[in-house]
């Protein structure tokens, strides 16, 4: 090749910069056009700058936001948040002992089997799992009830909670528990003083992974709750795909995202720094 070391260095530097520019640009461009630009469009629709057939007018208005904030919708928003919170807490209560057992109590061989068993449903889409649950609920005549929706939400989101809890608990240094025992703390006190504080990261991660998507969930309420259960998700579906009311829908989405984002920020701030 016959280049001196200095020339190689120089070419290497220029080469890297240029290569990565060539290589990053199409992806960034794609995302810019098909992911980020649409959000701006949503904003434009929500303030009424875009009319039917894409006609652009220059008079922004808040009327769609006001429409979206009517008491009926507000109640739906509150119910969705409540449902998401209920799902999160239930999943936490159910998942924690299971994750604890698999991470700390199960023998090595059993553990690998168990963790695979827990992850597998994770890989099966919500739609399929919800349908599977539907077949059982339908034969039990429990379809289209609020209870069915709760069961469905917990059923679908449980793996999302188990995994982060497990990953966190598995890293726990067992000798910390032993040290606590020799210092006079029985297993219960050890759990609250050592295990629980050290598993906080996993708990926070799990709660976020469940709560955020659960607020916007519409597959479960639709399939298992029918018309008796309305959430932000089902409302969005109706507004966009049934009534084609793009403007109110856009305003509602912006309200929804803002609420979720605010809750997230408050939650993360309160618990401290979190690594997902």
């Amino acid at each position: 090749m016959g280049f001196s070391k200095i020339e190689m260095e120089f070419l290497k530097r220029i080469g890297i910069r240029r290569a990565s520019t060539y290589v990053l640009t199409p992806s960034l461009a794609f995302l810019a056009v098909f992911f980020y630009t649409p959000f701006i469009i949503v904003l434009l629709y929500s303030i009424g700058v875009v009319g039917i057939d894409g006609v652009v007018s220059l008079t922004p208005t808040f009327k769609y936001f006001i429409e979206a904030l009517n008491p009926l919708y507000l109640r739906v928003i509150l119910n969705s948040l409540y449902l998401a919170a209920l799902t999160t807490i239930s999943c936490l209560a159910i998942a924690y002992p299971a994750a604890y057992y698999i991470a700390l109590k199960a023998s090595y061989r059993l553990r690998s089997l168990l963790i695979v068993a827990v992850i597998l449903p994770y890989w099966i889409s919500f739609l399929l799992r919800t349908y599977a649950l539907m077949t059982i609920l339908s034969s039990l005549n429990m379809l289209f009830t609020y209870q069915a929706v709760i069961i469905g939400m917990i059923y679908d989101y449980l793996p999302f909670m188990i995994l982060p809890l497990y990953v966190n608990l598995e890293k726990l240094d067992k000798s910390l528990l032993e040290a606590s025992y020799t210092l006079g703390a029985n297993p219960i006190k050890t759990f609250f003083k050592v295990t629980l504080p050290l598993s906080m990261q996993g708990i926070v991660a799990g709660c976020i992974l469940v709560f955020v998507p659960a607020t916007g969930e519409f597959i479960v309420p639709y399939m298992l709750g029918g018309v008796s259960v309305t959430t932000i998700g089902t409302l969005t579906w109706d507004l966009f795909l049934k009534f084609h009311n793009w403007w109110r829908g856009a305003a509602l989405s912006i309200i929804y995202i803002s609420i979720v984002f605010t809750i997230l920020v408050i939650y993360v701030r309160k618990i401290g720094g979190v690594e997902l």
């Binding site: 240094d173 000798s175 910390l176 032993e178 040290a179 606590s180 025992y181 020799t182 210092l183 006079g184 703390a185 029985n186 006190k189 003083k193 050592v194 504080p197 050290l198």
Partner: protein
Amino acid sequence: MIYKLEYDVELINITKKYGSTPVLSNISLSVRSNEFFSILGPSGSGKTTILRIIAGLTKPDDGIVKIKGVDVTSLPPYRRRVGMVFQHLALFPHLTVFENIAYSLRIMKMPEDDVRRRVKEYLEIVNLPYEVYAGRKINQLSGGQQQRVAIARALIMEPKVLLLDEPLGSLDFKLRQHMMLELKRLQRTVGTTFIYVTHDQEEALIMSDRIAVLNNGRIEQIGSPSEIYGKPKNKFVASFIGEANFITGKLVSDEVFVGSFGYVKIPKVNTALNGRAVLSIRPERIRVGLSLNGLDNIYKGEIEEKIYTGSYVYVKVRVSVDTCLKCLVPVTDIENLGLNEGMNVAVGWNKQDIIGVFED
């Protein structure tokens, strides 16, 4: 006055198996009050298991554990008041230095003022000033400092005995030397019985009042450092502690041993050893000179190798086709006598310099 011996810890016929592999076989030992007792053995000999059984973290398959005369075999660790310093310290990462040390006191529901006073006291004992270190997080401390926090944490609850699991392993050389003296001083100051587990014989010899040598789950010998070093009971102890030459040969009578290089006068042996035996003598007990006299045993040989280690010199002298003796020679002798590789020299020792004649 009758001098009554008190035992803080007694192990009686402790046995432990993992699956079908025996880890400890019939271990019995007694540790006296205020004693610095070491359990010394190679990796895998079971010494950490003994410690865990005393602490209550592992249950023995058979046998009894007594602490201060009370049978604690079925008691869980949080009811034994046994302090333990773990090999990797096991300091709580989510708590500060103060909170780590105060942990056991808070469990006991001690009033906060007393807690603060005690923590201060024990930080002082381990030489970590309260104002500087109390509020720090564990990961802000150096290895040596973390060590001392771990020790203070275990000592503050005034345990019946303190167990230490190879605590000095990860420290660098100078720090280890320093900590060995620190630990000895601590034990004397606080007066608690220490049971110290290590594979490093130097640590055991320097710090201990008594040592138990462990091999493959069995106790080979228990004694003071000078006993273990100077009067090892068998070949394993002789080879594990310090350096030793091992010469295979035969016992001719109970006072004479014969090796390939000649006859050796030995101290009277009263075991019924027939046939092959192994004679053991430490390098520092062999005298090396151009010619020697006045010793029970003198032999001629050739210097094969000179190994310089800084403050002293090992000289390997070949006295027969299959016997090469490692001798420790003061630097002054090397210089005065001009000892060098290839030279013919005389080596010799007295009967009492021999540390033992063992079964092969």
